[in-house]
């Protein structure tokens, strides 16, 4: 059952989550987001994981009318078929770059090598972008690696850290606090505010991790 909640007077959060992550729902989220962004009365949208935050200007737009519009649009939305690109991410696994590899291996009841193989075997999809500039929430993580986030976040996780947490995979676009577990390090530049397209990854992109040579 999809719920629409207030996010202040100028925002609405459409929450379509129903238990486990649903790929079809996610494609409908992207489609709804794109359709909304074509409208002049929408300031911006933030697609989350099986949810969508919609922002508008309550000075000009009636929130109740916007809620009705959003519900109608969502009901009619069909799954987005956006062209997907494949991005290959080279990773230096373990050692000083992957301080949680041993912990994750114990959690998954695998050897460190099997843990790396399981991480590389995934075909991940960029479900959402956010938290920090250029951070991607990747779905498609091997369920054996779905270790919960740390109880208290590390105050400093380095840019390029290849991380997993809460059933998702990700990579740190900048040095920042994080509660995710660190498996390795990539030297890809994930976000640069001065590039024509600042973020390296787009919604729907497929990501594959390989061992850095």
């Amino acid at each position: 059952m999809t719920r629409i909640h207030m996010a202040g007077a100028s925002g609405l959060l459409l929450d379509a989550a129903d238990g486990a992550f649903n790929d079809m729902t996610q494609r409908r989220i992207w489609a709804t987001s794109r359709e909304l962004n074509a409208r002049a009365d929408i300031v911006q949208t933030i697609p989350g994981v099986n949810n969508l935050l919609v922002m508008f200007d309550a000075v000009k737009t009636d929130p109740a009318a916007m809620e009705t519009l959003l519900r109608d649009m969502w009901t009619q939305a069909s799954a987005d078929e956006i062209p997907t690109r494949e991005i290959v991410v080279p990773v230096a696994y373990g050692g000083i770059f992957g301080e949680d590899l041993a912990l994750v291996a114990r959690f998954a009841n695998l050897t460190e090598e099997e843990t790396i193989e399981a991480h590389m075997a995934g075909r991940y999809s960029v479900a959402a972008i956010g938290a920090m500039a250029g951070f991607v929430y990747l779905t498609g993580l091997d369920p054996r690696l779905a270790i919960p986030r740390r109880d208290s976040p590390r105050l400093r996780v380095e840019e390029g850290a290849v991380v997993i947490g809460g059933g998702h995979a990700g990579m740190m676009p900048c040095t920042s606090p994080s509660g995710w577990h660190i498996l390795g390090r990539t030297n890809l530049c994930l976000f640069d505010a001065f590039r024509p397209e600042p973020g390296l990854l787009r919604l729907g992109d497929t990501v594959r991790f390989v061992r850095a040579s």
């Binding site: 989350g48 935050l53 309550a58 109740a64 956010g130 938290a131 250029g134």
Partner: protein, 323 residues
């Protein structure tokens, strides 16, 4: 050109922030007290959202190396231009060699220095605001340091009275007794226990020292509890969102907040009251009051209309200035 004489890791260049980059994960950013920044710009006949300096670390001093019309607005600080004491929310012209000094606020927490034409720094992703986390915007993506020299964007000079000018009615600031903020229920509101929902509105929450442009952590005698454990997927969040992590003490997301989060949300502070929070000092009490969406919309529209009235008043006053 102005030269910064005092360094800190917190004083930054801000405008109204990035309204269209959150989908990339970029914080909205922008002045924590938009009304105060806007007020300064109106006094200088700049567009409302022109970039100025947000000052949270005092004393703050600058030296003018060229004739510069400027305004100091926001918190109630002792402000002097060389030996001349300036009233609150005041615009005046500084001459080369003069020093402007802004000392710790008597009331409020953030002061804004705006200059005629605005600060000439490049727009990045649609704004001149400093994004400290991302390391871009403002001056080289960082806080202002001692010795930094900032130029003003070219603009026709404006004539101001020798002693400057301002409105007799300055920007409202929260009272010492505490800050009242109006909120709307957010997504997980109804999953909190009835006692927690009552506590949320009746308790005096104290603003802790963990209060910065990303978020304001509050502390209360009681904790806010959910009726059941939730495991939320990551979702977009806006400035004003009141999150409740497992410890049960609320955190209000501010202008540089992460664009996505995963903690339960009890409420959202309405936009007109966010600036009051930003002017609240550490240790001061904060009170939440739930209102309806209709009342919130009315408050937001009233706020927009008040700003238009202010702009009209200042514009009228400018025609009556005596030189």
């Amino acid at each position: 050109m102005i030269e910064i004489l005092t360094g800190s890791s917190l004083n930054t260049i801000q405008d109204f922030g990035r309204r269209h980059a959150m989908a990339m994960g970029v914080a909205q950013g922008g002045a924590m007290d938009r009304l105060a920044l806007g007020y300064g710009n109106l006094l200088l006949d700049n567009p409302l959202d022109t970039a100025g300096i947000e000052i949270v670390f005092f004393p703050f001093r600058v030296r003018f190396h060229a004739e510069t019309s400027f305004a100091v607005t926001g918190a109630d600080c002792p402000v002097t231009l060389d030996d001349l004491t300036l009233p609150r929310d005041w615009a005046i012209t500084g001459r080369p060699g003069q020093t402007l000094s802004i000392r710790a606020p008597r009331q409020g927490a953030r002061a804004y220095l705006t200059v005629r034409g605005g600060l000439d720094v490049p727009a990045v992703l649609g704004a001149r605001s400093t994004d400290l986390k991302g390391g871009f915007g403002g001056l080289e993506g960082r806080a202002l340091q001692k010795g930094d020299r900032l130029t003003c964007a070219p603009a026709a000079s404006i004539r101001l009275p020798a002693a400057g000018y301002g409105l007799s009615r300055p920007c409202p600031l929260p009272s010492a007794e505490g800050t009242q903020v109006r909120v709307l229920p957010a997504a997980e509101h109804d999953i909190f226990t009835p006692e927690s929902l009552k506590t949320f509105q009746t308790a005096a929450w104290t603003l802790t020292p963990s209060a910065n442009r990303m978020g304001y952590r509050l502390e209360g005698q009681e904790t806010l509890m959910l009726t059941r454990k939730l495991n939320l997927f990551s979702h977009g969040i806006l400035p004003g969102t009141v999150q409740v992590p497992p410890a049960g003490q609320p955190i209000i997301q501010m202008m540089d907040a992460n664009t996505c989060g995963g903690y339960p949300k009890i409420a959202t502070v309405i936009e007109p009251d966010l600036r009051l929070l930003s002017q609240t000092g550490v240790g001061a009490p904060v009170h939440f009051r739930e209102i309806t969406r209709d009342d919130a919309v009315q408050a937001i529209r009233q706020d927009a209309s008040d700003l238009r009235t202010l702009a009209a008043e200042i514009s009228k006053l400018r025609t009556q200035l005596v030189f």
